[in-house]
Symmetry: C2
Subunit: 338 residues, 2 copies
């Protein structure tokens, strides 16, 4: 393979001059610059990434650590991933996708071997065992998902409490006074899915403030269980007029459940969910929903990470950024009957 020595020889200059001509890190005479550029073109030269990394301690690669739990909603993950990879590329970075179960071990291995310039952690848990490793690593990191202790870390997440309040407010404004909230299953919470209770707690609080009833449930994460759960909740509260869904599987299952009960939305019952627009489009879901902003969160995390990388090891002014929820209105909330 052609290396910078070949380019230098072809251009009739030294290797250092060829290197500087390429990097632009010192002034080069126009003629030399042109000769080098020509040689690069003629020979089809591309710098060797490993050699460059060794010389500069920079790889132009970031690692993306996901947690892919078989009972969580895998398809939603892809939107976060593409947000990260696309934005990283725009900023000049490639992305190493890490899907190992042992995220902490993977982070340590990749950090120690200097394969990447930084880390993006997805689906961060309340108590996330990757965080101590990240804090001890020489490379910076950025998180998608708010951990219990975000100290010293750049964190991006949807403002789930605000989302919970917004969902209740929206229903209240339309005249609803008794609601059912369907969250993710309890084991998701126990595993560290703090967003579940962050949304639910605030929704409950807000309902109390407004003096309305909120029945708070955990639904299963897959079929057919969640369908049965939904039927159970509806059976238990026939006077409830609105449904809040913080559970993608429940949203996907709801059309069938309503149809089987002979209910129309929003005629018989109003619904508001929390999932991505893509998800809604793909799965025929015509429910208004708080967008999960997966793409934006991924992009923001990468931007913060690249800023940290460029800044170098410094007392980084780490910050937590909670993105304000936005409801995408699909007309599934109406005034309740009677």
């Amino acid at each position: 393979m052609v290396n910078i020595g070949d380019v230098a020889r072809a251009a009739g200059v030294s290797r250092s001059t060829a290197s500087y001509a390429l990097s632009g890190k010192r002034t080069i005479s126009p003629e030399v610059r042109a000769r080098v550029a020509e040689a690069v073109r003629d020979l089809g030269y591309t710098p060797n990434a490993g050699a460059r990394a060794l010389a500069t301690s920079r790889t132009s690669v970031i690692a993306l650590l996901g947690r892919f739990l078989s009972d969580e909603f895998a398809p939603a993950m892809l939107h976060y991933i593409l947000g990260v990879t696309n934005r990283a590329r725009e900023l000049g970075y490639d992305t190493l996708l890490v899907s190992e179960d042992d995220g902490a071990g993977a982070l340590l291995r990749i950090s120690a071997s200097r394969m990447v310039d930084g880390f993006v952690l997805l689906n961060v848990a309340e108590q996330d065992d990757r965080l101590p490793v990240l804090r001890g690593a020489p490379q910076p990191g950025a998180l998608v998902g708010l951990p219990g202790d975000p100290d010293g870390l750049d964190v991006f997440d949807l403002d789930f409490p605000a989302a919970g309040a917004m969902m209740v407010d929206e229903m209240f404004a339309h005249g609803h006074r008794e609601l059912i909230l369907v969250s993710q299953p309890l084991h998701v919470v126990e595993r560290g899915g703090a967003y579940v209770w962050r949304l639910a707690d605030r929704a409950r609080e807000r309902a109390e403030e407004l003096g309305i009833i909120l029945h708070d449930y955990n639904g299963a994460a897959g079929q057919p269980e969640v369908g049965r759960d939904l039927n159970g909740f509806l059976d238990a509260h026939p006077s409830a007029t609105g449904l809040l869904l913080n559970n993608e599987a429940a949203a996907a299952a709801l059309p069938n459940v309503l149809a089987s009960r002979g209910l129309t939305c929003p005629g018989d019952i109003s619904v508001v969910g929390r999932y991505s627009d893509d998800f809604a489009r793909m799965f025929s879901l015509s429910y208004s929903a708080v967008d999960s902003a997966a793409d934006e969160l991924g992009r923001r995390a990468v931007e913060a990470l690249v800023a940290s990388i460029d800044r170098g090891p410094s007392t980084s002014p780490a910050h937590v950024e909670l993105i304000a929820p936005v409801i995408h209105d699909r007309g599934s909330i109406a005034r309740p009957r009677g």
Copy 2:
């Protein structure tokens, strides 16, 4: 950061001896081996990936090139991706995920800079502009998806013609004599999604052989269009008793469509799809379906790729492997109403 020189010093040996003790590439006395191992442990040594890549021309990284088309079924992609990343890790490789629109350009850039040892191409099109670049690259590759000209490449794909025949046979065996096939939209075909017609052509052929009627349609790839499409097809052929779906969005939309028409499955109409088990589980789809085998295809491609990498540049006995379709029975095919 601690390097192999530090290890050597701590162990009281030369750097080369330390290196050999780690790689096991030559016999080392037990005492020396133990001292080196101890030094590695004490110092927390991990080899520098860039330096190793420079010295060995091996990175232990593979690149995974996806084509993420906004109107194709993105969530399904994740299963292919995880099949690749997980199997790669098992075999000692990390995975660079590449999502750029310009796949050919990305392949060239990554190949020329020697960032990876090989490539896995996902969602390969009939005429795929990444293939000429791959054929010219010094690193080997493996494809998921059968291109028009697979010559010299390791290719893995579902046997779509066999799947088409199987779907028709299954319906025929249950007594159905008039079927509707809903494929992906035409622009997916035009863009190179050959699997669409590979399945459809064989299904049509098989229907002819069996002397039964097959109405062949392309449905939209998203909501609400595909729902309208389905209603249109059902309106046009009231005597059809079976539905074949080679279109994920159609499968996701069908429950609502049937409910709105007051039809039950399989009481009023039989259905067989083609999508992954995960997809079915997540989206409440109780239709029997040919599994798309995403995870397996991803894993097989990685295995073939790693074999090529290990074999080194040789006259690789490239081969095309079409995985036999398997129908996962969910009881959605019954005898048609008398």
